[in-house]
């Protein structure tokens, strides 16, 4: 009797992931086959060992209490936990400000957070020894690489005849949403293009805006259901040219 087809199902069986028919069939087999039953027991023991070893770290009760209090206060910025005085000053300022001002500031703060996060991501890319996970100048290699890794697809432009060169891409995250980061080279500058689902980002950034983000230029626009951000230290006109190429990509 060959045991391999049964043993191949054991992990899914022990994880409780087999369909009920297959589960019952394997159950029956394990009652009749000592070798497979022993292997099943061995794997179960291994799972228990990993489970026990994995419960390794215990949080400081002080941290738990700090988090609990912050939730009770409704704090939504981690930084407030670390600098309570800042929180107090900010709270007073918000009470003094009118409702309209608060709304305006909230939008500006949110915009600045997104711009700052994108600038951080771009800086990380520039600083990384391996800035891309898929290294290719071929759009027909880079685009398919993202399939199954992000919840949407996008088009890449034909760059022949343009000053831009595709370097590669990687998966990135903004506001807990996965998206694509594409790296382009123009002359000696690297430019990051971030693409996210617009509803996931809900950036509220004005369409077709070029703005400064910590010495970088940033261009943002919405295209269909996607939100594009292009960021780099090259000139604003270069970013616009790359935007035009991306917008026309089919």
């Amino acid at each position: 009797m060959t045991h391999e087809p049964w043993i191949a199902q054991l992990d899914a069986y022990l994880d409780g992931e087999l369909e009920s028919g297959a589960m019952q069939e394997l159950d029956r087999h394990l009652r009749e086959c000592a070798a497979c039953a022993a292997e099943s027991l061995r794997r179960l023991q291994w799972k228990r060992n990993v489970h026990a070893a994995g419960q390794r770290y215990v949080a400081d009760p002080v941290l738990r209490e700090r988090v609990r209090k912050s939730i009770a206060r409704g704090d939504a910025h981690a930084i407030w936990w670390r600098w309570p005085a800042f929180a107090a000053v900010a709270a007073v300022a918000m009470v003094l400000a009118g409702f309209g001002i608060v709304q305006y500031k909230t939008r500006v703060v949110r915009e600045n957070q997104i711009v700052s996060e994108l600038a951080d991501l771009h800086v990380s890319t520039l600083a990384s020894a391996t800035p891309v996970d898929v290294v290719s100048t071929d759009r027909h290699t880079v685009k398919p690489w993202f399939e199954g890794k992000i919840p949407f697809s996008f088009n890449l432009p034909e760059l022949q005849g343009s000053p831009f060169e595709l370097v590669g891409g990687r998966v990135s995250y903004l506001e807990q949403s996965p998206g694509a980061e594409l790296i382009f080279r123009i002359r000696k500058h690297l430019v990051s293009v971030f693409i996210f689902q617009d509803r996931a980002v809900q950036a509220g950034l004005p369409v077709n805006e070029v703005r400064d983000a910590r010495s970088f230029h940033l261009e943002s626009w919405k295209q269909g259901e996607l939100r594009y951000f292009v960021i780099g230290d090259t000139g604003a006109e270069d970013l616009r040219a790359l935007k035009d190429l991306l917008a026309k990509a089919k």
Partner: protein, 178 residues
């Protein structure tokens, strides 16, 4: 009770019971107590801020673990960890079946310390899927939602993670024996 208070109370009820689990997972990801504490605080802040977008009745645990994991991936440590390449692609053909050998019997008796060291050394893509399955006891569907990857990828990555762990434990035991 106003809407904001109800929302905060609802969030606290769902999120606080997961605090210890989130911290444990954060520490495994960062390898560092201070970074893990920052990561957990950041996660709770982001989750509270985004709680209005959480769809009631869906899986809160997968939702908040996803926030933690994404926050980690965008941190300095996370970006560094994510660049460690896996030996193989996730969608490679199925792995051959492991059979019991004297070696496998030996590693079943590995001490907790050796096991922990081996988990710690796994690439983050293997470590996270293994911990979510074995420690958090999430279903493949929940893991897929947490890591935003297809279920097929969860299964192949988990299989490779288990194999990599066994191999790392074996190596450590052999090194200790010699």
């Amino acid at each position: 009770m106003c809407v904001a208070e109800r929302s905060t109370a609802g969030f606290e009820e769902l999120a606080l019971p997961l605090f210890d689990r989130l911290y444990n997972f954060a520490h495994w990801l960062t390898h560092n107590r201070d970074e893990a504490e920052d990561l957990v605080q950041e996660t709770f802040a982001k989750a509270l801020k985004g709680f209005s977008s959480f769809e009631q009745g869906t899986n809160f645990k997968a939702w908040i673990f996803r926030i933690l994991r994404n926050t980690f991936l965008n941190s300095r440590t996370g970006l560094k960890a994510a660049t460690v390449p896996l030996d193989v692609q996730d969608d490679d053909a199925a792995l051959p079946v492991e059979k019991e050998t004297p070696e496998t019997i030996l590693i079943d008796r590995a001490s907790e310390r050796i096991m922990q060291e081996a988990i710690e050394e796994l690439p983050v893509a293997y470590r996270e899927v293994l911990l979510l399955c074995e420690v958090e006891e999430m279903s493949y569907q929940e893991i897929a939602a947490t890591l935003t990857i297809p279920i097929g990828t969860v299964m192949s990555r988990l299989s490779r993670a288990r194999r990599a762990l066994r191999s790392a434990v074996t190596e450590k035991l052999q090194r200790n024996a010699s």
